[in-house]
Point group: C2
Chain length 377, copies 2
C-alpha cells in the first residue's frame, strides 16, 4: 500500500509536530483548547501511520477551511439535550478535531459516572482519524466508539451510492472501535465503510498511480482504475457483497445524522439544489454528524478477565498459519502501534511537498518548524 513513508524525504519529531500544529492553529484563530485538541488528533494520526488524516491536513483542511467558510474558529460546542447516559450535542460548525475530543470526553465522563455514555453530535466538521477518539476511552478501561457520517440527500460530486444505485448519497462513513488489552496492545479498528476511503483515491492521483479494480467506478457505474474518473466508491464488499458495506454506511448515518438530528433539520444552511427549501428533496446535511460512545468494562465483570481474554485472543491470532509470502498475521491496531513506536523514536516522515507547505505555513504565522532530512534507508 502506498503511503507517505514511501515517498518521505524529511522527518519531523512528534513533539515538534504537535507543538507546531498547536501554535499554528492558535494563530489561525482557534481557541487554546481547540488548538491543543486539534494538534493532538493530527499528531496521533501521523504517529500511527494514518498519514491521510494527519499533519498533511493542517493547512488544507483546518486552516483553509476557515477561509472557505466551512469551519468557524473559536466555536462553543453545546449540549442540546442530555440524560445521564446520552447527549445530543451541537458541534457549532467548529473544528471537527476539537469537537470530537469534546464529544468523546463527554461520553467518557458519562460512562465514568453511570457505566456508559453516548453522544450524537450534529453540525460537526471533518474529525480526522475516528480511531483517535475511540482510543481515548482505553486508558479509562472502557471500550471506545467513534463514527462520522455524511448523507448527501441529493448526491454529491463524489461518494458512495447505495447498492443498485448511481447517486453518491453517502460519504465513506467510518467506524472506529477501541478496546484495551492487558499485556498485549489495544485492539483499534478504524475502517471506512467503502472498500477504500476517498483520500486513498486522491493520494493515488497525486502519486500518479492507478487504482486497484474494485475500488471505484466512474459516473456511469463502470469500474475504473483512473483516479481522476473515480467518482463512485464501491461500498465495502464491492460488486458481490457491497450491500453490506452500504448497510454499515447507513447504520453510521442513522447513529450520526439521524440520532443527532444533523442531516435534515437545518434548513437555513441546506444546499437545496434548486428545490424549494420546504421540499423534502432539498434536505441536505449541515456539516458532518458524529457518534461517540464509551462502555465501562466493569459493567460486564472483572476488568482483568476482559484483558486476559484480549491477550489470549491476540496470542491465538499470532499462532495462526501464515499465507506463503506474508511475514505474519496481525490484529487491528497492531501495525499502527508498531508504527507509533517507530515514529516516536525516529520522527514523523513527510514528503518534500508537505515539508514545503508546512514551512510556508510556519513562515506565514511566524512559527518555526524543525524539519530534518530523512535518514537514508
Amino acid at each position: 500500500m502506498l503511503n507517505h513513508a514511501a515517498a518521505a524525504s524529511h522527518v519531523v519529531a512528534a513533539s515538534e509536530v504537535r507543538a507546531f500544529a498547536t501554535r499554528i492553529l492558535e494563530r489561525a484563530g482557534y481557541s487554546p483548547t481547540e488548538a491543543a485538541d486539534g494538534a493532538y488528533a493530527l499528531t496521533w494520526a501521523s504517529l500511527r501511520g494514518i498519514d491521510t488524516h494527519g499533519i498533511r491536513n493542517l493547512k488544507r483542511y483546518y486552516i483553509d477551511g476557515i477561509d472557505e467558510g466551512i469551519i468557524v474558529p473559536n466555536a462553543r460546542f453545546t449540549i442540546d439535550s442530555e440524560t445521564p447516559l446520552a447527549a445530543r450535542a451541537d458541534g457549532a460548525s467548529g473544528l471537527g478535531l476539537a469537537a470530537a475530543c469534546w464529544g468523546m470526553r463527554l461520553a467518557i465522563d458519562k460512562a465514568a459516572k453511570t457505566g456508559m455514555g453516548f453522544v450524537a453530535m450534529r453540525n460537526s466538521n471533518h474529525i480526522g482519524a475516528a480511531s483517535c477518539y475511540a482510543h481515548m476511552a482505553i486508558e479509562h478501561d472502557m471500550i471506545g466508539l467513534a463514527m462520522t457520517g455524511y448523507f448527501f440527500a441529493n448526491g454529491n460530486p463524489v461518494g458512495m451510492p447505495p447498492t443498485f444505485g448511481l447517486t453518491p448519497l453517502l460519504s465513506t462513513n467510518p467506524i472506529a472501535v477501541a478496546a484495551p488489552g492487558g499485556e498485549q496492545f489495544p485492539f483499534v479498528l478504524d475502517m471506512s465503510t467503502s472498500t477504500v476511503p476517498y483520500n486513498r483515491v486522491e493520494l493515488y492521483g497525486e502519486l500518479g498511480e492507478p487504482l486497484s479494480r474494485g475500488w471505484a467506478r466512474d459516473d456511469s457505474g463502470d469500474d475504473t482504475v483512473d483516479p481522476k474518473r473515480a467518482t463512485l466508491l464501491w461500498p465495502l464488499g464491492g460488486e458481490g457483497g457491497g450491500h453490506k458495506g452500504y448497510g454499515l454506511a447507513m447504520l453510521v448515518h442513522i447513529l450520526t445524522g439521524v440520532l443527532s438530528g444533523g442531516w435534515w433539520h437545518n434548513p437555513e444552511r441546506e444546499r437545496t439544489h434548486g428545490h424549494p427549501p420546504d421540499d423534502p428533496a432539498s434536505y441536505a446535511q449541515q456539516g458532518q454528524s458524529n457518534f461517540f460512545g464509551a462502555i465501562r468494562l466493569d459493567q460486564f465483570g472483572p476488568v482483568d478477565e476482559f484483558k486476559r481474554g484480549m491477550d489470549e485472543t491476540i496470542r491465538a491470532v499470532h499462532r495462526s498459519a501464515v499465507e506463503p509470502g506474508r511475514d505474519g498475521v496481525y490484529v487491528a491496531g497492531e501495525l499502527e502501534r508498531a508504527t507509533e513506536q517507530r515514529r516516536r523514536r525516529d520522527g514523523i516522515p513527510v514528503t518534500t511537498e508537505l515539508a514545503v507547505e508546512l514551512a510556508e505555513v510556519g513562515r506565514l504565522y511566524e512559527v518555526p518548524l524543525e524539519i530534518q532530512p530523512a535518514p537514508s534507508s
Copy 2:
C-alpha cells in the same frame, strides 16, 4: 441469489409453521417458553426470506442438536453479574433461539428502566437469524443490536481466517441492527462479517451450483468455486479489503466471547486439540457467545424527530438514480419486509426435501402439519 423460494414445491401457512414448530420443540423436550421462543424465531426468519436460518433448521440444528449433546433442553438461563445497564449471562448450553429471546428481553427491560441495556451471554448455541432479536427492540422505540460470535482458538474445519492467515479462527460472526421508521419500514441490517455466510456455501453445495469467485478459498488458500473444497471463507471485502471484514469479526468476538467470558474460561468443556488443559493453546470456546443491546431513542431527543429522519432518509435513497438493469434501490430490511408481507399472505415456501423432512418429524412426534402444493408461478 439462490434461495428456497426458487426451488419451492410446497407452501405452509406461517401460523401453521409456528404452531407446528412450537409443538415439535415441546415434544422434543424443550420447555413451553423455549418452544414458543424457538418457534417464533424460526418462523420470523422464514417469513423474512432468511430461509437458511428458518424452519429448515428445526430438525437438523435444534432437534438433532439435543441428540448430539450440543443443546441441553429445558435449560435455566441465568445472570452471572449485572448492573442497571448491563449483564453477563449464561446461556446454559440451551436452545440458542430461546436464550437469545431471553437475553434480548433482558436488554430491553434494562433499557426501559434506565435508557439502555446491554447483555453479553456465554454458553449459548446457534441463535438463527440475529436480526430477529435486534428487531424485537423496534416496537419499544429502541434501536436493537444482536451479535453472535465463535472464536476457534485452534482452528476449525471451516471458518474465516485472519487476513494473511490460513487458520480458520473465526466463525462468520454476524452483526444485526434494527431501528424504527415512522411512516416507512424499519431499518434492519443483518450481515455476516464474511463475504457470504457458510450456509450459503452449503446451500450451493446442496443445489449443485458453483460458488462465485471471491467467496471462499480451499485449505491451501486458493480461491475456489467448488462448495466441497471451500473451507476458508473470505472476510467481507475479500482479497483487497478483507482486513475490514476480519476486523469486524474480531469486534464481534470481543463483544460476545471476550466481554461474556465465553471463549476462554470454560476449561471443563474445551476441545483441547491434544494440548494439556492449562496450556493457553488449548483454549477453545464453549458454544457461541452473544451480545444484545437496546438503546431507547428518547435518550437523544424526541422520538418523532428520529422517525422523521428515518423516513426522509429512506425517501432520499428511493430518489437515487438506478443502475441500468436494476428495478430499484433499497434500504436494509426493505426487501425482507416485502417478503414477509407476501409470505404472511401466501405461506412460507418449502422445497420437496424439506417438506418430506418436516412431515417425517411430524409423524415421529405425532404433530400434524398442513403442507400445500405451491401455486404455479
